[in-house]
Amino acid sequence: MPSKMSNFFRNMSWRNYIVYIAFIFVFIFFSIYLSDAGFLTAGNLMSIARQTAMITIMAVAMTFVISTGEIDLSVGSTAALSAMTTALTLQAGMGIVAAVIVGLATGFIIGAINGLLVSKVLIPSFLVTLAMMEVGRGIAMWITGTAPVPILHDTYIFLFGSGDILGIPVLLIWTIIIAVIGFILLNKTPFGRQTLATGGNEKAALFTGIKTARIKLSVFIFTGTMAGLAGMLYAGRLEAGRYTFGQGDELSVITAVILGGTSLAGGVGSVIGTVIGSIMIGTINNGLILMGLDVSQQMIVLGIILILAVTFGKKSKST
């Protein structure tokens, strides 16, 4: 009889853990190679956490979308639009509560439109969200004629940007809250099971009485709303709303999710993996900057990582 322990080892394949192993390697490499540049200082590690917060938050939600076998390319643009609407609400003097509601609602509405088009009109999510990526960014540019909107509200900036609570950056706190919610939602609730079932075999899920259309609508609303939150955090951190926020974030977010072991084909998802994946991307970006690479070179590295992640994360479907 196989013992519990050997069962455990048998069930874990190295693929599931490659992201952790890779992360350790990357971290050690930068720690040694960039020790003079200050990679391993507390200040730099905190700044990695801050820089990564928005990606992580969107990636947690994206884990759900990809788990259902769909994709959301519009998160970066949604973040930009939410940052604008939030900043404008604050500028209009309507107060922080209104601003938060408006910011989240912006994301919610975009997510709901995506979700309805995918689940009810049955347009492939790739197309819907590709279009929404343009529309969202376009509106963000258009509402102020590309002008940035400064934020002067101190409480907002503290809660959604540069504040520290008990020495912990608020951005990190937001990240942890969303990651925990995402983890519980995916692993401990019926909704999580239904999400994975929808992505695993939509027909079987449907015949089991799962409202797959509603599940899909919900996960798009989740990414939309989380992209809204990410946009609000961008606005808080940089004390303004700018249409340029979140440009290219969809690539980082999707890479983080795939690195974390979530299957592009749907049906398999891991929130913890996603968090590690996105911290790894943040670490790599940070390391590359310290090494003196510029944005264009970072883009190249990120693209290559995505392809590697998809290649190694691919499961053979033969058995």
């Binding site: 048998r10 401990k188 609730t189 099971r193 994975l196 075999n201 015949f207 089991t208």
Partner: protein, 499 residues
């Protein structure tokens, strides 16, 4: 048996440490039709997958036509003259029979173009030789599904296969088609083709096979001429003990004076269901008998909200109901175990546990969370009751043997304990021991006052559980016969054929 076509000697195979085949010996004579039997998870498919190069053996030897061969991939196996007829058909519907048979190895003219006339002539010659009444130029989508499998077999033979493996070939065939297949097997035998025949159906094995090899838990039990064995012997060797006689009908009390639970009137759906009316009473087990394609599956699909109901009414407890999708149906207390388990019943990359609890998530959750303790209880219970062979409840379902996957689909819905349970071919691919267990569970449910509809192509099974049989004929109901008025299987067969 003069010559030996295939010998597999001392085959060992383990999956991540779990031994699935233990020193298995398997020997088949030339031109023989050899049955390979055993309970679900005994290792039949694994042994054949080794022969066809899907898996490689850990140790052992394969000898074909006297020569030791190494089979590391499907190509090696083809080269050695072995072909497997797959359940999921690999034909392309929009191409003709001949085009499918010669796909990717079409005969060429001198100019290098495809030589259609030669291809069609060759194909037709083979079809005629095997007495198959289809034309080489027919589109595959136009011939009946029963012929698809035969086309696959012809394809294998035209590709010089000497050993043809059929894994549960009749599970998708009607009675008539099954007979056609048996005729074809006879013809193949005359041509000297060796056939390995895997099935859980006793009567078939005795009808078409010469010898039998039985495996139990990955080990040889016996290899013997079938003429030396009785059905009881075979059953005993498969399960390693005596079977309780659950295939015998036990009369049950159904109260037919109370109004029916489900009333279906003049139901029309798709082009298969033309005019179906029947009643289902509380605590009743109703068997649907009929030919493949007579509209039985389509009726229940419509009732469960998968297909649209074009006309007719459905009432539950006297109230007319509207069902637009499976969710509506489930709310009204219906459940359907679908025919095609891989496509419609399972999420293949998820675990046994996750699949099983999917319809009962609400029942095993409190307000917010899934309660693992409750989940485990339910799952353990069904693994034990239906004797599901799995290393543990977290095993990925696609790694279970075919029959065990079917048992998981069943438990999924049994656990949901619906008021009206509809089972479409519930025991297809399930071994004899589990079959009787499934029939027992069905009876238990009915005894609790639940109503059950059973569709099955196995008449023995229908006769064993049904309180009443409904005979389908081309989308309408030809007859409704109380079980006690039926003496033997022949009565049902006559009722099905002569309407």
């Amino acid at each position: 048996m003069s010559q030996i076509a295939l010998q597999m000697k001392g085959i060992n195979k383990a999956f991540s440490g779990v031994k699935v085949l233990k020193k298995v010996n398997f020997e088949v004579g030339k031109g023989e039709t050899h049955a390979l039997m055993g309970g679900n998870g005994a290792g039949k498919s694994t042994l054949m997958k080794i022969l066809t190069g899907v898996y490689t053996l850990d140790s052992g030897e394969i000898i074909i036509d006297g020569k030791s061969v190494e089979i590391n991939n499907p190509n090696d196996s083809n080269q050695a003259g072995v072909a497997m007829i797959f359940q999921e058909f690999s034909l392309i519907p929009k191409l003709t029979v001949a085009q499918n048979i010669y796909l990717n190895r079409e005969p060429r003219t001198n100019l290098g173009f495809i030589d259609d006339s030669k291809m069609n002539a060759e194909t037709q010659r083979l079809l005629d030789e095997l007495d198959l009444h289809i034309k080489a130029t027919d589109l595959v989508e136009d011939i009946s599904v029963g012929y698809w499998q035969m086309t696959e077999i012809v394809k294998a033979i035209s590709n010089n296969a000497k050993i043809v493996i059929m894994d549960e070939p009749t599970s998708t065939l009607s009675l008539k088609e099954t007979e056609k297949l048996f005729d074809m097997i006879d013809n193949l035998r005359k041509k000297g083709i060796t056939i390995i025949y895997i099935s859980h159906r006793m009567d078939e094995i005795f009808k078409v096979c010469d010898r039998i090899t039985i495996l139990r838990d990955g080990e040889n039990v016996i290899t013997e001429r079938l003429s030396e064995l009785t059905m009881d012997d075979v059953v005993q060797h498969i399960i390693g003990g005596k079977l309780k006689r659950t295939f015998v009908w036990e009369p049950r009390e159904v109260d037919y004076t109370k109004p029916p639970l489900l009333e279906v009137r003049n139901l029309q759906s798709g082009d298969k269901v033309k005019n179906v009316s029947f009643d289902l009473y509380r605590g009743e087990i109703l068997g649907f008998a009929g030919l493949m394609g007579s509209g039985r599956s389509e009726t229940v699909r419509a009732l469960f909200g998968i297909d649209k109901i074009r006309q007719g009414t459905v009432c539950i407890d006297g109230k007319e109901i509207v069902v637009n999708n499976p969710m509506d149906a489930m709310k009204l207390g219906l459940a359907l175990v679908p025919e095609d388990r891989r496509e419609q019943g399972l999420i293949l990359e998820h675990s046994v546990k996750e699949n099983m609890i999917l319809p009962i998530l609400k029942k095993v959750s409190n307000k917010f969370f899934v309660q693992e303790r409750k989940v485990s209880e339910v799952v353990k219970d069904y693994i034990q009751r239906l004797n599901i062979k799995t290393d543990n409840e977290d095993k990925i379902i696609s790694l279970l043997s075919g029959g065990n996957q079917q048992k998981v689909v069943l438990s999924k819905w049994l656990a949901n304990s619906p008021d009206i349970l509809i089972l479409d071919e519930p025991t297809s691919g399930v071994d004899i021991g589990a079959k009787s267990e499934i029939l027992k569970v069905i009876r238990e449910l009915a005894d609790q006052g639940k109503s059950v509809i059973v569709i099955s192509s196995e008449i023995t099974e229908l006769l064993a559980v049904s309180d009443r049989l409904i005979i389908y004929h081309q989308g309408t109901i030809a007859n409704s016969i109380p079980r006690e008025n039926l003496k033997a299987e022949e009565d049902v067969e006559i009722a099905i054929q002569n309407v």
